[in-house]
Structure formats: C-alpha cells, structure tokens
Symmetry: C2
Subunit: 242 residues, 2 copies
DNA sequence: TGACAGAAATCTGTATACAATCTACGTAAT
DNA sequence: ATTACGTAGATTGTATACAGATTTCTGTCA
C-alpha cells in the first residue's frame, strides 16, 4: 500500500515542522543524534529526510559536514513566489495551447464553485474550506497541462519555503482587507480557467503570474508587521533581517 | 575542503553514468547490493545517490520498494526543454529588470568572445571549446539575475534528463546544418545580453525561451534518426516509444 | 589577559547487521 | 491449462556499530 507510513515519512514531516517552527533557526548545525531520538527513529531515515530538505531548500549543507537551517531574506521569498507564478503560468499556458481535458476542466470548475460557496456566505467566510479548496485548485491547475513534468515542478516550487499558494492564508486576522483579497483571487481563478478554455495561452500565463503576486503583498505586510507576528506564522521566523 | 571526494559523490556520478548508458533501461528494479558492489561502496551512499536521482527525475520510486530507471517520452523531454527556456527566461528577465552586475556582464561577454573565436575559424570549428564555453554562458546567465534561487533552479532544470543546454552538442556529425545552428545560437546569446543591458526584460525573456527551442530541433531529429543513434547519445536510450 | 597548541569529546559519513516485506517459484486444486 | 496459494529466497527499509574528522575544552606560554 502506498499510504503505509514509513520511518522516512515520519522523519520528513517531523523535521520539516520542527524547522518551520523556528526552534533551530540559529545557524548552528542540526545535531543528528538528538533529533533522531526526539523524533523516535534512527539516524538513517533522519539523514534521508535531511537530504530531502536540503534539496527543498529548507536546509543547507555545511562544508565541514552536516546541515543547518537555511536563512532567507525577503528577496529570496519574493523570488520563490515569482518563480511559482512563472511555473504555474507555464502550466496553464501549455494547457491552453494544447487543450485541456474537459473532465479535468469540469473538476476545476467544481472546485471554483466550492470556493464561491465558501466566500459568499455573508458575515461568515469559511476560511478552512477556502484554504483546502484553494490548494486543490492550484494542484489541479498544474494537472491541466497534461504534462507530468509540469505537475511535478509546480508541486516542487510550491514547497519552496513560504512560496506555497497557501502560505499566508491562515493569517486572515493579521492582514488588512483580507477577505477583499480573497475575492480578487477567486476572480483571477475564474479568469485563468476562462483563458484556458478559450485557448488564450498568453493571457492564462500572465494571469497566473499576476495571481502569484497576491502572495507577495501578504508577505510584505507580514514581514513588516513586527516581531510578534513571526512566531505565529510558520516559517516566518526563518526570515533573516536581510 | 569541499573537493574531498566522498563515497556519496562517487555513488552519484557512477550511478548516473550507469543509468544514462542505458544498461538498466528496462523497467526492472535496480538491485542495490549488486550496484553497490559494482561501484565499490556500501548500500548507504548508494541509496543516498538513488534518492538524489529520484529527485532529479532520472529514477522513479516503485510502490512496493526500490527504484527503477524512469522512462521518458519525447513529449517529456520537450517539456523539460520548454521549462528550461522558461526558467532561464525568467532569470534574464529579472537580470534586465533589476540591473545586472557590470562585472558579471563583462565576464559573460568574455565568454561570448571565446565562443566567437571557437566558431569563426574557417573550416575548423572547435567543438570542444564551444561546448565548454556554452555551458559557462548558461551558468553565468542565471547568475546575472543576482538571485541565488534562480541560479539554483536554472541549474536544477538543466539536470533534468536530456534538457541540459549541452545535451546534444556532442552529436555534431549526426545533425545536419549543425554549424549553422551554432552560429544562430551564438547570435541569440548576443541578443540576450544586449537585451539585459538595455533593461528590456520581456525581450530577454522571449529570446531565452526561443533559444531553448534550438535544443528541441536537435532532439526531434535525433529521436527520428533511427536506432543506431540511441546508443551513441547518452541518455537517448531512455526514450520510450511513446 | 589573550592566543595557541594539544587532547578529549562529539559528531558525521560509512559499513554492516537485522527484520519485515516482497518476489518468484512450485504445488495443488478447479 | 489456468488460477490460487504457500513457502523459500531475495531484497528493501531501518537500526546500529565503527572509524575518521571536527569541534570544543583545557592548560600553557607570551
């Protein structure tokens, strides 16, 4: 079965969340024995997980051996978001150019309907639903290209630290005009799908790029919102002062 | 020292070249013990290397355990080349928009001069020099953006199977009009740098995308050139019939 | 007091041992 | 003949042991 939890999976999830929590955010080396004991497994799967996170960019190798938590500037994260926009943009352009599978398109629109439902309840936006459906939308979007590679790379770039489409969605109460921004985002969602249907590749690409920029606004705001916020947004503590 | 050859490095290089040679191209599982003995190391660094090649896309995991050599369609490789064009295009666009470091720009132009020198000798094109300088050019190009992330990702996408800027350069004698194509490529190189200097981001981006398309032409030709060629071009034997 | 050398302790990279799982083959039943 | 099943062998995932390198600590000397 593919959903069998292996020790490596445990190590990966556990280590990632430990790192994102900021507990090891200094530039010290990650101690393998201590971590493996803490996670309840041996060094072998832990080191596997460390390799994986180095590839993801969350950790960086130390010349003399071992890893440390990587540090990011605001520019780094903005670049990562930009790159996500570019790759998602390419996926939707290819979907438009090559023609998307109607079944997949229909499924995307069902997701968009559910997002509408989450947003249009007056006085009560269902944030949890939005977050989960938004993630689905972005996953399905890459799928529309019909290219396994695009799907994989879009997925990958979303895992870059703080570049995910959902990175800042949990911080509703911290960001001003947040629900207005969600409505704008959903409008862009619709426009992207419309462009794909109309085989307007360039338009779809530009829309996807612009869509990613919404995350930059939120990031910039949170980064300047003072130190108290850093501890509440997972991963934000990895931001170095420049 | 960072140039200390570790067992993992040996495993990575050895395994990659074994896989690219096509010897294991069937869909059978890669036997770890046999491979580790053959490469003269233990299973630990070998498995590390396998993880790395899975992330690179050269191997794929098997549900029930272990890895096999991934198989590619022509479409897969064309997508990889397209993606390389997109990412290199983004890097040069950012370089143009943000302004490239003059020192780095000067170095890029020195490389271009050396490519000219390799190409303009009548009756004798220095292919080896071209290959090496071309690789330098592409590496430096990503560097111009000033973004570490772009550099890393451009590097990464060049390692996708058969998507590297140099993937088909060694097959000069197999491809018709090859030297003409090299001249065209160099013309595009110059234009890209010119666009960066002029801060013409969109132009730089489009040029880089178009530049990547040159590789697609070569790929399409080699893929249809019959079975004899597959054994001569490293990695081409991984192409599945569709 | 500060710098430096050397030794002790710690830690990583690698090899190997082990257990759970998968694969393959052979046997039996339909 | 073909399918189901069970067992034996092989193979992976994981833990642990070990050696070399690195960091840290301590004591000495300037």
């Amino acid at each position: 079965m593919s959903d069998r939890k292996t020790q490596f999976d445990k190590a990966l999830l556990g280590l990632r969340s430990l790192v994102m929590s900021g507990e090891f955010a200094g530039s010290a080396r990650l101690p393998e024995v201590a971590l493996s004991e803490r996670l309840g497994l041996s060094r072998t799967p832990l080191r596997q997980a460390m390799d994986h996170l180095v590839a993801e960019g969350l950790l960086e190798r130390i010349e003399t051996g071992g890893c440390r938590v990587a540090r990011f500037t605001l520019d780094d994260i903005n670049d990562a978001i930009e790159l996500r926009g570019v790759i998602e943009g390419t996926a939707v352009r290819l979907a438009a150019e090559r023609g998307a599978d109607p079944t997949a398109l229909a499924e995307v629109e069902r997701v968009l309907d559910r997002i509408d439902a989450a947003l249009t309840q007056p006085d009560h936006i269902d944030f949890d639903a939005y977050i989960s459906e938004n993630a689905s939308f972005h996953r399905l979007l890459a799928h529309l290209s019909g290219s396994q590679l695009m799907q994989r790379e879009a997925d990958r770039v979303s895992r870059l630290p703080l570049a995910s489409p959902s990175a800042f969605l949990r911080e509703q109460e911290l960001i001003p005009d947040f629900s207005a921004s969600l409505l704008r985002a959903q409008h862009q969602h619709r426009a992207i799908v419309e462009a794909i249907r109309a085989r307007e590749g360039a338009r779809a690409e530009h829309l996807a790029r612009e869509h990613a920029r919404l995350a930059r606004r939120n990031l910039d705001y949170l980064a300047n919102a003072g130190p108290g916020v850093a501890t509440r947004v997972p991963g934000l503590s990895l931001l170095s002062a420049e």
